[in-house]
Symmetry: C2
Subunit: 216 residues, 2 copies
């Protein structure tokens, strides 16, 4: 399976690429292909030092969509609309949204778009045939990148297409010790997306770092 990461040179995308590329073919997209290539070279070297073979290729964001079976939108909420308007070819793709609409005011707050969640907004921006799931919303960038440490977290997954959700949950369960949990239809994504500002507040007020969640 080939996984394309749109925005793959950002903090989270880069960490995801490191974790995913020893398991899947990963194509890292960026607005600047050269940047994606540099990220992938660095990532490959880091993994090689640990004796890990990987499949990691830097491309444009559009190529990450075109060549991915599954496309992860590793972009901040504020860039979602402009990024998706600049891309096409999402028909038949499984699209993963780890996007959290939030703002830092006095504290972090969940500030959803009118659709109710980033995932529902993304569904409205993409062709009807795209199969969208929310997943990976709560894994901090630093945890993705700390590849010598296990990821012992729960990952709620929302989506309306049962096959797509099953595939996304299988991907989640192959990464480190992540545990995929079915969190219902895409309309339930708001309750997953609002976890991240909560975790950021908890990290801040309790002097913790890169806080994650286990559900059991």
């Amino acid at each position: 399976m080939r996984i394309g990461i749109v925005g793959g040179t950002g903090d989270i995308g880069e960490g995801m690429a490191m974790r995913l590329s020893p398991i899947f073919d990963v194509i890292v997209g960026s607005r600047e292909k050269e940047k994606a290539e540099a990220t992938c070279q660095l990532g490959s070297e880091t993994l090689k030092k640990r004796g890990l073979a990987c499949s990691l290729t830097g491309v444009s964001n559009q190529d990450a969509v075109d060549d991915g079976d599954v496309v992860i939108l590793a972009i901040p909420f504020k860039h979602v609309i402009t990024t998706l308007e600049s891309l096409h070819g999402f028909e038949d793709k499984i699209v993963i949204s780890p996007v959290n609409p939030m703002e830092k005011r006095d504290h972090f707050m969940f500030i959803p778009p009118p659709e109710g969640s980033a995932a529902l907004m993304i569904r409205g921006l993409l062709p009807k045939m795209a199969r969208i799931c929310s997943a990976f919303n709560t894994i901090a960038a630093n945890r993705w990148k700390a590849i010598d440490e296990e990821l012992v977290y729960s990952v709620p997954v929302c989506g309306d297409d049962a096959d797509a959700k099953r595939i996304v949950m299988e991907i989640v369960n192959k990464i480190s010790q992540l545990q995929a949990l079915d969190a219902g239809p895409l309309a339930a994504s708001s309750m997953v997306e609002s976890l991240t500002p909560l975790l950021l507040n908890i990290a801040r007020y309790n002097k913790m770092r890169d806080v994650g969640i286990q559900i059991r």
Copy 2:
């Protein structure tokens, strides 16, 4: 310290009373005092069988407010307004809201009141001097009641009064293995309250029971 539980004969209130009464003086309130007395007698016997001494007294909801230093509102969201309109004397009390505004539609959804959260709505219904914290939002009734099992969960606590929040966090940390986490000001409660419908969905879709959360 004396803890009054308004709605203490409901599923959650009853479980809370069992867990709290070996540690604190607990007064269980109900609209019907006789019901509260019966609940307390049963609870005391159950605890005594396990060799646990407890301080557990059944009273009216109004007495639970009047005689509690800390008052827990163990009532469903739909009963909050009528219950609080029927009670007085919250000045100077520390008030704990474990209330989650949610509805079961196709799945459970967080449906906050216009104030943004149950906690903020409750602040508007109580006198200005009442010091409100949200806490205990995500512990399932069955877990409260299963007194032979440890509660190994995180409990996010929100509030605007630093002293009150510290006291509430100390109460949380004395119960079984609960871990209190400062989750910010009362305005951040929406992100805590929306956890519960998420956990109920996860329990349902993954055939789990009485799901809880650990944040680390």
